[in-house]
Structure formats: structure tokens, C-alpha cells
Amino acid sequence: MLQSNLAYKLPLTEEPAHVASKDAKLSFVHVVVAFFAFLIGILGGLLQGLARGGIIELPAWLGYYQILTAHGVLLALVFTTYLIFGFFFAGMSRTHGAFSDRLRKMGWAGFIITTIGTLMAASMIIANEASVLYTFYAPLQAHYIFYSGLALFVVGTWVAGAAIMAHYFQWKKEHPGEPTPLFGFMATATLILWVVAGLGVAATVLGQMLPWALGMTDEINVLLSRTLFWYFGHPLVYFWIMPAYMVWYLVIPKVIGGRLFSGSLARLAFILFLLFSIPVGFHHQLMEAGITEFWKYIQTVLTFVVVVPSLLTAFSIFATFEQTGREQGGKGLFSWIKKLPWGDVRFFAPFMGMLVFIPAGAGGLINASFQLNAVVHNTLWVVGHFHLTVGTTVILTFFGMAFWLIPVITGRRLTKSMNRSGMVTTWLWTIGMFLMSGAMHILGLFGAPRRTAYTTYQDHPQAMSWFEGIFASHITVAIGGVILTAAGILMFYNFIYLAWFAPKGETEFPMTPDPDDTPHTPALLENWKLWIGIAVVLILFAYTIPIYDMIVNAPPGSPAFNNLIR
């Protein structure tokens, strides 16, 4: 017999769980750092966007690439990472019980190490000693304190991640034969991915960049450093998106009054991300010399495999919407859509993120295709693309999350006026991004380059014509950027209100009831040794020969070029 998909029809098997107060505090400090970094990051984005469009001129003491670095590092690395760990600590406490004192201390140690690293890197950006953009490609060279800060940042997240994973495996040990809670399963898959991917960036920062910045070596193997960066850089994208998917899979079904379509399908998707999101970094280097076509081809094929779990996710989430909407009385092909809670920011903000992921994902497939990459490589198209993926899909999902996560961990309530403010924030962000990212996509197709300050390209008629469109112009990009900044400031206000001024009260941490298929979860999906083993084999297969080749037949080393973009 079919079971109901509606949450309120399910028998209550246990008391509603809470986030333990000490764990809530640990989660809260992460969220606070995240939102302060967010505010500085979006203001940096505004200045950079207006300067790039030739609308303002930056003062002499503030460099364009300096502000671009701050914007990228603070939003793409600091905001996302801290918010993800805040979400994980709260969610693990909610679903697996309170952390032990030992593991909580480990979590705090991770937070402190990460924050010291962040401050070191940020101080060098402020001092204009690290204007190397958030990809910190060699041969641009930053101060050694910047690289040391990056290393500490990564190590700190590993320590915090180890605390979360230990909490998960402790639960698994105490409940033999039971499927683990989906939240812990997904957080663990994400963290294993993060640790394995982080090895690449640790190798290039500690093994290449730090000795080079300290003057211990004169030259750097640029090809190898870029390869190690992208070994890390692509799974970094999944480190952002997987927690957003966790909100879609686990939180949204409860917010809409239903439950997740299938737990096994969700677990399978996360295992596929773990396996296939690392051995694919070459699709960021398709235009680079020094890597043979064969290995580029292999990694492109693997890139297309990692599309599958995203498509599984799209199906799963929409199926959850449809089944819940129909049970609530929705009829016909699409009229059940009306049953979804369109006025609830906890649903609406992530939903807009999902919608944007359709063009964002399609753009990703274009980037990853060899010939198509030749059309868009190093153009504004790419900037438009990642402003859709991380800048909208992930960010809007995190915005939606903030409206319940912050009240949960501060013991406050989401008020109606704050919900309305969240809806306005979501609309503004979506409209701003449509203008900015849309224009960037088109300009990129014309050929307008990325990573450049304002230029008229020596008034070359062809270059000038790129920016003369009604939509595809500097003005559209700038207007979009201004709207986004307004949305960002409003979101910061929302954060301040929810954290310190909202009325005290109880807020639910929304969590889907167990999906129907939970008792039938294949044990194989929880066999971590197997999946980590396969992931390692795939990485060794995709990277061993090309990296060996880059070292044995190394290109000439490069000296530092640290004054070009100051």
C-alpha cells in the first residue's frame, strides 16, 4: 500500500529533536563570521563592478585587483565555508545528538585555526601584498603570510571536519545495521570530498608556493601548480553545492509539508559526487598547453558523469514537490504547483536557486566541452556562469537556510515582517543577478575577456562594439551589481535582526521525515571504505601519468610576477 507523503499524516516516532545549546554556540560563531565576511565581500563587489564598467575610478590606495581578490576570497571561500560548517554543526547536533565535549572542543579548535588563517590572508589582501585573485595562480606571487594563512584555513576546516565525521561514525558504531541519518551521511560525503580535494591545494601551497614566496626557490612549475589547484578547485564547487543540495533534499520537503521522495536515491547522488567530482579538474585547463588531449578527454568524460547526480537531484526534488502538492489536493499536470508555500522565504529563496541552476548547469556543460570551451574560455561568460552557480543557486539556498538556522541556534523566531524582508531580498538578488550575469554571458560570447580592469582595448572598434548592446553593456552589469549590493545589505540586516533582535521563541529545525524507502537502504551505499577506495583509484587513474609528465618533463620554471596587477 502506498504511504502518505504528507508530514502531518506520519506517525510521530520520536520527540522533535533540538540543537544542543553548546553546539548551537559553535554553529553561531561560524554564521557570524560568515555574514561579516559577506558584507565586506559584497561591498568589494560593488566597487569592483563599478570600476570595471568605467563608472567610478578607484582611489590610488585601492587597487582593482586587490578589491577583486577580496571580493572572491571573502564570498567564495570565507562566507561559504563558515556557513557550511555552521550548518553542519547544528544539523549534526539535531540529527545525531549533542557532540561530546571532546569533539566539540575539536570543532572550536578547527574554528580558531580557520579564523587565524582567514585573518592572515585577509591582512595581506588589505596590505595589497596578495592581489592574486581568489584562484591565486602562479606566477602571480603573494606574500608568504597569505599562503600560510591559506594553509591554516584548510587545516582548520579539516580539524572541524574531523569532529563532524567522528560524531557521525560514533553514531554508526552505536547503531549497527541501521541506515545512518541522511544528514550525517551527506555531511560526511561532503567532508571526505573536501579533505581529499584539499590535499591538492595543500600540496601546491606548501610544496611550491610557500618555498617560492619565502625565496627558498627562485622559480615555480606553473603548469603543476595550476593542475594541483584545479584538482582542488572543481571539487570545491561541489563542496559549495552539496550542502545546498542537503537543504533541498532534507529541509525543503519538510518546509513544504511533505517528505523526501527517496533516501536511497539521495545517498546514491552523494556517493556519485564523491567519486566523480575530483578526477575532472582538467576541464578547467582545456586551453592549456602541457596536458595531452587524451587526458583532457578522459577527464571531460568523467566531468559528464558527474552531471548525473545533479540530474538525479533535479528529478528527486521535483518529484518530492509533485507528490506533496498532489496529496495536498493539487490536480492536473501542473496545478499542484499552486499548493507549494510561495510566501515562505525558507522555501522560496532556495526554489529560486533551483530555478537558476537550470541555466547554470547547462552553462557548465558548455564550459566542459572542448570546442565550446574554446568559445567561452577566459571570457566574461565564465564569470557570469559562476555567479549563477555559487553566486545564486548556492547563495539563495543559504539565504533561505539563514531564516530558520539563525533563529534555531539563537533561540529566536522568524517573524512575518522578517519573512517579507527575506522575500524582498530574494527577488532583488534574482533580478540583480539576471541583469548582471545575463549581460556577462552575452558579453562573454562576443569575446569580452575576464580578469581585466576597465579598458577600452585601445578603442578597437570590434571590442567597443561588444559593449554597445542595450542589454549586453557595462551599464547593465553595473545596474545588476548595484541591485545585488542592495539585496546583500538587506540580507546582512536580516542576519543582524535574526541573530540579536528577533523575539525569543522556539524555532523548528526543518528535517524531512524518513523517506518511505529508508528501511530498504542498501548497505552497500554506506560502505565508506569501498567508495573512498574507488575515489582514490579514479584520482590515481586520471592524474598519475599527467602529473608525472609535468614533473619529469617540466616546462621552464617561472620567476615571480608580483608587480603586474598591483
Binding site: 500500500m1 502518505s4 533535479a314 498532489r326 499536470l333 537550470i358 556543460l365 568559445v375
Partner: protein, 51 residues
């Protein structure tokens, strides 16, 4: 009497099965596939005319 109960049960079952319909999801995933297909070939066309 028992026939009426049976009919009601059958009716309820039909109603429940209707809840599990994923026709809308089918249309949605087809739309996503078509969108990917069209955008990919649009940029591939740009590649072709520029080479």
C-alpha cells in the same frame, strides 16, 4: 454491504495512486534536457561559424 466496502477501498486506492503521479516531473525533466540540448548546440554553432 461488503461489495460497497470493496468499492470504497478500490476508490481510495485509485485516489492514492493518483497522488503518486509524476507526470509533471516527467515534463519538467524533459524541459531541462531540452534546455541543455538547445543551449549546448547554440554555442556549438558559434564555434562552427567562427572556425
Amino acid at each position: 454491504m461488503s461489495r460497497t466496502v470493496l468499492k470504497t477501498q478500490q476508490h481510495q486506492q485509485l485516489k492514492q495512486e493518483d497522488h503518486s503521479s509524476l507526470k509533471g516531473t516527467l515534463v519538467f525533466v524533459m524541459f531541462v534536457g531540452a534546455f541543455i540540448f538547445v543551449s549546448w548546440f547554440a554555442v556549438f554553432y558559434l564555434f562552427l561559424i567562427r572556425t
